[in-house]
Each structure stands twice: as structure tokens, then as C-alpha cells.
Symmetry: C2
Subunit: 489 residues, 2 copies
Amino acid sequence: MSLDLLLDHLKHTAALSQVSGILSWDQEAIMPVKGAVQRAEQAGALASVIHARNGDPHIPEWIAAIDQDRLSAFDRRNIAEAQRGYDKATRIPARLAEESARAASQGQRIWAAARAEKNFSAFAPALKKNIDLKREEAKCLSAPGSDLYDCLLDDYEPGARACELQPLLESLRPGLVALREKIAGKPMPRALTGNFPAAGQLMLARQIAVQLGYDLEAGRIDTVVHPFCSGTGGDVRITTRTDEEDPLNCLYSTVHEVGHALYAQGITDEFMPAADYCSMGVHESQSRFWENQIGRSRPFADWLFPAMEKAFGTMSLNGPDQLYAAVNRVETGFIRTEADEVHYNLHILLRFELERELIAGTLEVDDLEEAWNTRFERDFGLAVPDASLGVLQDVHWSIGLFGYFPTYSLGNIYSACLDKAMRADLPGRDDMVRTAQTAPVLGWLRERIHHKGRVLSAPQLIEQATGEAPTAAPLIDYLEAKFGALYDL
Amino acid sequence: MSLDLLLDHLKHTAALSQVSGILSWDQEAIMPVKGAVQRAEQAGALASVIHARNGDPHIPEWIAAIDQDRLSAFDRRNIAEAQRGYDKATRIPARLAEESARAASQGQRIWAAARAEKNFSAFAPALKKNIDLKREEAKCLSAPGSDLYDCLLDDYEPGARACELQPLLESLRPGLVALREKIAGKPMPRALTGNFPAAGQLMLARQIAVQLGYDLEAGRIDTVVHPFCSGTGGDVRITTRTDEEDPLNCLYSTVHEVGHALYAQGITDEFMPAADYCSMGVHESQSRFWENQIGRSRPFADWLFPAMEKAFGTMSLNGPDQLYAAVNRVETGFIRTEADEVHYNLHILLRFELERELIAGTLEVDDLEEAWNTRFERDFGLAVPDASLGVLQDVHWSIGLFGYFPTYSLGNIYSACLDKAMRADLPGRDDMVRTAQTAPVLGWLRERIHHKGRVLSAPQLIEQATGEAPTAAPLIDYLEAKFGALYDL
């Protein structure tokens, strides 16, 4: 009885959280500009309702009355999630929650202006404020003496600890550095050039999405400035963008969001927390898997090249081999979001290192820009010309997202682990990809990841799916094999 | 202090109601089909939250502590609206509210199937259920012995009473009947025929909307099966539809929704109930005014004809005179939504009469089809061939909308009152319409209607705007003049 009441409460809260997601999607994708003022009120009013429901005093009473020994792991996880949400809602004072929301919203505005002016000091006070509030929030939630960063990480990667994450992520560095140094002296493959009408890009993006298994009856594709995926179960919407000089941006951003969307469409229960996605790292493993291990593979170029020729006519590349090389060009650059597979995780390592120090208080905001530039030059061999290409490039810290960056690298690590195990299970996968008949690939992920919810922790889930505890080795092996062949190393 | 608390409460509730509107819009306009299950949960969860807020026990405490004598009429209206919402939320038991929602949703499904089969008896039980629940609801809300129908009417036309509405609406009948009989023997003007691509219709519809003052930065236009308008203030979305054989359907449905949208975009405060639209009748007066008094006027044909030729090429009509006649063809038919200005209100009179008797219990559902057919033949001189062209044509009763139909006729009556007064104030209006420079027309309505909210009752508002208490005379005068000239009576 108490369990039913608790689950019913969770279900209604989940439905309201979905509404909040619809509002955000609407705001980013299609809302008229003058709707902004009322939308802020709407989002705020809904957030208050959800906060109050998460902290409903009945929750601990219901939980106390449940005999958990007789329950399935699924329902025990639902209860644990209810407890986790209750703790977060009740331990953080309303004043602090409000101040954080305001600081995040102001922070983003100030960050955008500072980035445009390439002026870090204009952003520093807002960043300090965000860090102070995040530290205060972490102190409300964690045991005395524990690592405050872990507490922030927990929002995105439940149960993860920085002291375990750090050696895992750092174990990527030697292999990545060796690879990027070997490639540096090699000739760069030809890039795709020309003009590619937006309508053709969107038509092809839609075709790819459907071909990979995205269900358009349970979703839709719209155009935005910064693509994202939103929703769960029967209503999972993706977004994309077009650049008439670079159709690969649209196509690969679509494949990336389709990866997220396939996970979200594969959730078995839209309302139960235990059925929800396991962690941000696992979510990112799905987008990265489809974007990189499938989308940037040689067999996919066999499918994509003729599809692009059909959409755009004759291109500046002469066949699938050149397309494969073009979508895997390795180039040292300043911007994380434009980085190739070899450089990407080095960008994350830098941010992970810096944000841990910021939260620990061992690095001051006033010293951040210099620390960024010094360490960037150490890792990438380039001097950062200005803050917009350096410490001001990402929005995350301006809106209080600390502990989020490492989930990108976890996603890359997990995707390679899954890729390795899947290749053993599906020896004919290259042919499936070559013909875009990837239903068995999706089926493999559905069964092992999408349908598993968050009953297990992310490392447990990956271990169960692959037979091995996750390490960086499969990612390094994959990158060495792929880029070794591409660059004749 | 109590007033601030109350207004803040109302504001947050209004924001949540707007969210509910966004969900409905999304569902009708763009939601993927498989989102239906979660959408039902979302809408239900949100409705519960809003219901609980409307019935919040603080409301009567706050109201009791406010010294209303010192307040503006605006704030007194806010308080009255809070009290009205509180009464509705607390006097109707949760069980009844739930049962009504379920009966409405089932009723609509059963109605749609029955209409497809042209079988009224398949719908009768669901209709009985809806009527029983509506009567029960009205009994919870009204004083013993009062007219239950008034209580239902109050949801759409606050403060209106059937005993006053009935003579007003019935006073239309003699003039309408006389007009339709005189026209019956006259030759029918030529209709528009041909094929009109959907893209051209939508482009022209958008152009008309903007030209009439619809602000696309505070709204958007999408395509649906049954057009509607949704939202308030900075986010007012309209919808339209296209039929390649009949562009006038798209264009005039757009003008109608633009009329609603101009009202909604002109609301001065998106969150205060006292600033909201006055009544459904007044809302409909705005859509009808733009659709009929402006859109179906001779000067508008001067603007529309060349715009249509530009969009579609040479047409089957030879100029603005023929277009004006074509958009004002008078033809006796069975379907309300297809009726011309002469017949429309006769359709409403029939429904108003029947639904009052159904709610009073003087007409049984089992006798409804026969009553409909007998009275339809009496009023229109045609025998109803089957229920889909008769009693089953409208969705309203199937979803529990009783007391809604008369607001359509009120809208027509009010629009003619406003038209008469505006013509006196803006003698150059025909030229404005001929060139689609209608900013002064919109300005007149903004000042007298849109910016006035619901501080006054609908009849008070119309009287204040026009200098005369509303009667049916301006509508009959307008119709006699217009159709007298068109049909050479």
C-alpha cells in the first residue's frame, strides 16, 4: 500500500518533469521570442511544484512502512531514487536553490557577453558566485570531510567518485598523446568542400535517423542553433542544424542525437525512475557509439557516400574512402566541440582537472585563465590566443554545471567497451552498417543497456553488458587501430 | 500583504494554466502520435496541481484579511475570480471531477464512432452520462431552486443567465427567417472553383495575418485538422488547414483565428485573471468581427482579390465583386460550421433550445434525435437525412460542453454592436480595409475591449465600448443591409 502510494507519487512527479522537458524543448525549438517572459514564470512555477513533490513529507513515511526485503531490485531502486530526490529537495534550503537558479541564469548572460568580448575578468565574479553556491550546495548534501566534487558529480553520474574517475580518465592520456604526436607529421586528408542546400541536408538527416531506428511516430526533428535531444519513451524529439558549407556537421550531429534518442525511445517505463537512463556517461556512450563507432566507420561511408551524392550531386570527394578519411580528419584545435576523436578527451581531462581544483578551493578563479592557458599549451602544444578560444569557450561553468564534463569522456570510454563486446557478438556488423540494416545493433543495445534502466550503477551496467569492468583500454585500442590505418602510422 | 500573497498565488496558477495550454496546443499541432499515453498522464498531473491550487485553503483566509474598499476595480475582480475558482474547486468533489473528465474523454471517442456510423443510439448512453454528471456538477455549485443551466453557462459567459439570454437570442429569429426566405428564391452567385496549392494558401494566410496586425514574434502558425487559437500575451499561437479545392476555407479560418489572437495578444497582463478575456462571447465577437465585418466586406475583397491572383494566378472569378459575392453565398445546409452569416445563428438557436431542455430534464436523450430533426425541419425547411448531418455533427455535448453554444451567437451580436459603433468613430474604415491598413481598427478594439480585461461583465463592456446596451438590432441591420444589396432584395 505504501509502495503503491510512493510509486503513484513518483509517476505523477515524473509526468510533471516531462512537462518541464516539453517546455524547454518548445523554448529552444519553436517558441516565439516574445514568449520568453511568460515562459520563465511557467518554468519557475513548475519547478516549484516539482521541488515540493520531491520533498513531500509523506515520502519518508511511505518508505519507512515498506518492507524492502520482499521487493524486486527494480522497486528497491525506485525507492532509493525517491529517497535521493527527497534528500536533495529537503537538505538544500529554498533560499539557496533560488539563489543558484538566479546565479546560473545571470551567469549564462554574463558569460555570453564576456566571451563575445574575449574578457575573462568580466566573467570571473559570476563564476566565483556559481562556485561558492555549488560548494554550499554540496556541503548541504555530503558527509563532513567528504569530497565536495563527488556530490556534484552525483547529479550526472550517480555513485561515481572523483578519486576513482581520475585514474580512469588519466589512463587515457599517454595513448592519446602518443597518437596525436604520431599523426602530427602526417599529411592531412582532403576535406569536403562545396555548397550543400539545407533542404537536402535535412532530408538526408531524416533518412539516416529513420534508417538507424529512430521512430518518427515517437518523435520529431526540428532545427535549432545548438542541437539536443529531449523526452523519453513515446515522445523523444531531436534537433539538428545546417551549415550550407558543411553538411557533415548536420549529418553527424543528427547521428549523435539519434544515439541519445534511441536510448530514450528504448526506455521501458516512461514514469519510473528505476527505468530511466542509467547516467549521463551511459547516455553519452549511446550518442558517441552511433556517431563514432558506427557513423565514422569505414562501412558507414559505403552507405553514406552514395546517399550524399543522391542528395547533393557530384561532390569534391571521389568515393567512400575519401569520405571516411574526411570525417576522421585529426587536427589540433582550441575548441572542444570541434575536436576529433583523438583530441576530444584531452579537452575533457583539462576541464576535469581544473574544475576539481576550483571546487576543492586549491585553484582561485582569478588564476583560472592562466592555469587554463598554461595547461592547454602543455597538453596541446598551442598558445591560447584569447579567452573565447580558451577558458570562455564552454557554457557549462557559467550555469553551475560542475561534475558534468567527465561524463563526456566516460561516454567515449563506455562506447568503446560496448563496441568491443558487440563486435564479438555480432561478427557481421560491418555488413549491417554498410547497408544501414542496423536493427541487430540496436537490438543488442536495447537488451543490454536501454531496457536495463538505472537498477545497476553505470560501471556495473557496462560490466554486465560486456563481461568486463570498464577500462580505457578498448577506447585506446580502437583509436590506435582506426587512426593507425588511416594515417599509416 | 494578504493581497500580495493572493496575487502571487494567482500568478503562479495562471502560469501553470498556460503550461496546460501549451500541452494542449502541442498535442493538437505537433505531438508525435506515440506521445499520447504520456501526454494524458502529464495533462492529468498538471490538472490536479492546478485544481489543488485553485482550492488552496489559504485563499479564503487571504481574502478575508483584505480590506477591499481601498482596492481598484481591477484587484477587486482578481479577488472575485480567486473566490470563484476556489468555490468551483472546493464544491465539486474530486470523485465527480474525475468522473466528468473520464466521461468527456470516453464521450468524445464514442461520439466519433457513432457519427461515423450515423447511429445516434450508439452515442445516447454516453450523452446521458455526461448530462447526469453536468447536472450533478451544477447542483454542487448553485443555490437550491436556481436554473442549473446558468451554472454551466457561467463557465463560458460569467454572470450570464439563460432567462436573459433566451429573449436576446430569440429576438434574432424573425429577422433571420425573413432574410433567408427572401434570399431563397434568388439566383446564387458564382462559387470559386479550381485548384489552389497548399503552399500558396499558407503563404497568403500568413500575409493576411501579419497585415491585420497579428504579431509573429509573439506567435506562430501551424497546420491542424481543426483550427484553433491558443495562448495569451507574448505567446499566442494560431492554426489553420488547407483544402486544395477551397482556399477560402484556409483564408477565412485564418482570419477568424487571427481575430481571437489579436484579442489574446492585446491582453495587458498575462498572469492576472482580471486582465484575461472577458467572456467566450466577447472572444467570439473578436474572431467574428475580423472574419465577417472585415474579412467578408466589399472593401476587403478589393485587397484580397489581387493578393489571391498573385498567389494562385488567374481565377474562376473575374474581380473583387465576384469574390465578395462568393464569400457571402447564402445556402441552406445541415452543418453549423459551414453555415453562412444568415443561417449560422439559427443553428445556434436550435442547440441552445435543446440543451436547455436536456439540462432541465424536460427533454430525454432518447427523444433528442427526433426533437432535433423536427425542429430543424421547422427552422430550415429541410429533412435531416441522417444523424451525422444532424444531432451528431458537433463534438460539444460529447465532451460535456453545455452552455457553450450560445456564446457563438453572443459573439455575432456583439461583433455587430462593435461594428456599428466603430463605423461612427472611424468613418474612413472602408479605405483602411481596402488597403489592409487596419491599424486604427485594431487600435479601437485594443482600447475598448482587449485592454479592458474582465473587470466588467460582457454586456457592461459592450455598452461601455459602444455607448449602447447590446441588442440584436445591429446584427439584423447589418445582415439586412449587406445581403439586401448582394441579393437585390
